[in-house]
């Protein structure tokens, strides 16, 4: 009986083995004459903050990521813990504390979200596009 139990457990474990790596986000190739792709803060970026960040960065905190204040809390604002670095430096993802945090680079302390539930590759690409395009309040 005991050997059957062990064999069953190991058989289930063996059957579910696979070896995969991903996902890799590949942007749509731009063709000549296409306008520069535009990322919209209110329609695309803000919902990401609402889904992943707002619970721990509510209105009573020093970095309010609620819909009304998220833009003013982030863009061009010095990081509390890593000044003079900006939370979001328009046009410069690598120089933005936010971008480093959500990519777990640890350049500016702990990655976010802190429990390791990383943003999807599409969400990361949206935020990167938005910062690269000037982090507009559009």
């Amino acid at each position: 009986m005991k050997k059957i139990t062990i064999i069953t457990i190991l058989a289930v474990a063996l059957a579910s083995c696979t070896k995969d790596e991903g996902p890799l986000y590949v942007p749509e190739p731009a063709s000549a004459g296409d306008p520069v792709d535009t990322a919209y803060f209110n329609a695309e970026v803000l919902p990401i903050f609402t889904a992943h960040c707002w619970t721990c960065h509510p209105p009573m905190g020093d970095m309010d990521l609620s819909a009304a204040e998220a833009y003013n809390s982030l863009v061009g604002v010095e990081s509390t813990n890593h000044a003079p670095a900006l939370r979001v430096a328009p046009g410069d993802p690598e120089g933005s504390v936010l971008w480093n945090k959500i990519n777990y680079t640890e350049v500016y302390g702990l990655g976010m979200p802190p429990d390791g539930t990383a943003l999807s590759s599409e969400e990361l690409a949206t935020i990167r596009d938005w910062i690269e395009q000037g982090a507009l309040n559009n």
């Binding site: 457990i9 289930v12 696979t18 070896k19 995969d20 790596e21 996902p23 640890e106 802190p114």
Partner: protein
């Protein structure tokens, strides 16, 4: 046969060998007890198993947010105000020196199922100078996968990416070798093989590490525990720090309580050793605690 399959096969052979060796044991030999007080050191499993057939154990492991070395340390009250991770585990010994364990942790909503068997036991008369325990564990991430777009691909950049059920699994196999050198000092070393079915781009499915751990008994009930796990292969990309933890332990018969300082918030080893390590050289650490309770069940008496 893949690497992972060989590891699981080895574990199976080791466990069945342990079971059959017990059946063949002859004259009673006196064994060293209490190499470690519980079945965990801090994050790493110890050489111990639930000590008696049909007995069971219950464990709570908790890790708060990071203590940061600045004004946030007070503001976030040493990380207690930040999101935390917790794992509940239930252990049961269906046979002597064999333990089944099921756990559930908050981070990733991970369920883990483990089998741990003590193959060799250190004896008082030194016929056997070491204890050896094998462990095999499978973890299932039950949280929702992130959204996938039609521009997401596997690493080859050609096959469209889709999350599959198998991607939720990761495995952990260890051979733990321990010894109680003196009543006040025990130590163990454990090669660790971790396999994750899905890894981020640039990651390694296979992670190899070695855990070293020690227990220094400082009073009748108190001990200081230390552990570190250098990653040999497959750690987080760009990470050069070694996952480590220290704890102060208070142990009585059946109870273990530990106050923990750990370099990571993850608890399940498949995630702990493959996640970025807190910059402890700058003062970032995670405060936490472990509570374990073993409930002994009286052995069945001879039938009249």
């Amino acid at each position: 046969m893949s690497m992972m399959n060989r590891i699981l096969l080895f574990t199976f052979i080791a466990v069945t060998t342990a079971l059959s060796s017990h059946a063949q044991e002859g004259a009673a030999r006196e064994y060293v007890t209490g190499t470690f007080a519980g079945t965990q050191v801090v994050n790493a499993p110890s050489v111990e198993v639930v000590p008696r057939k049909r007995s069971f154990g219950f464990m709570i492991q908790h890790r708060f947010g990071a203590i940061s070395p600045d004004e946030q340390a007070w503001k976030q009250f040493a990380g207690l105000d930040l999101p935390a991770n917790i794992r509940f585990a239930f252990q049961y010994a269906p046979f002597r020196d064999v333990q089944l364990e099921i756990g559930r942790s908050k981070s990733g909503k991970v369920w883990d199922l483990g089998l741990k068997a003590r193959v060799l036991k250190q004896s008082v008369e030194e016929e056997m100078p070491l204890s050896l325990t094998v462990l095999a564990n499978a973890a299932l991430m039950s949280d929702d996968f992130p959204a996938v777009s039609d521009r997401d691909f596997y690493a080859d950049g050609e096959r469209p990416f889709n999350y599959r059920f198998e991607h939720r699994f990761s495995y952990n196999t260890q051979v733990i070798i321990g010894r109680r050198f003196a009543p006040w000092f025990s130590a163990q070393v454990a090669p660790v093989v971790i396999y994750r079915n899905l890894v981020p781009i640039g990651g390694s499915n296979l992670t190899l590490a070695v855990t070293g751990a020690a227990r220094f008994k400082v009073s009748t009930k108190g001990s200081i525990l230390m552990e570190a796990t250098p990653i040999i292969q497959g750690g987080p990309p760009g990470e050069h720090r070694t996952p480590a933890a220290i704890a102060y332990e208070l142990a009585t018969s059946g109870h273990v309580f530990q106050i923990v300082l750990a370099s990571g918030q993850e608890i399940v080893e498949q995630r702990l050793y493959t996640s970025p390590v807190a910059r402890y050289e700058e003062g970032y650490m995670h405060l936490g605690f472990n509570i374990a309770r073993t409930l002994f069940v009286k052995p069945k008496g001879p039938k009249p």
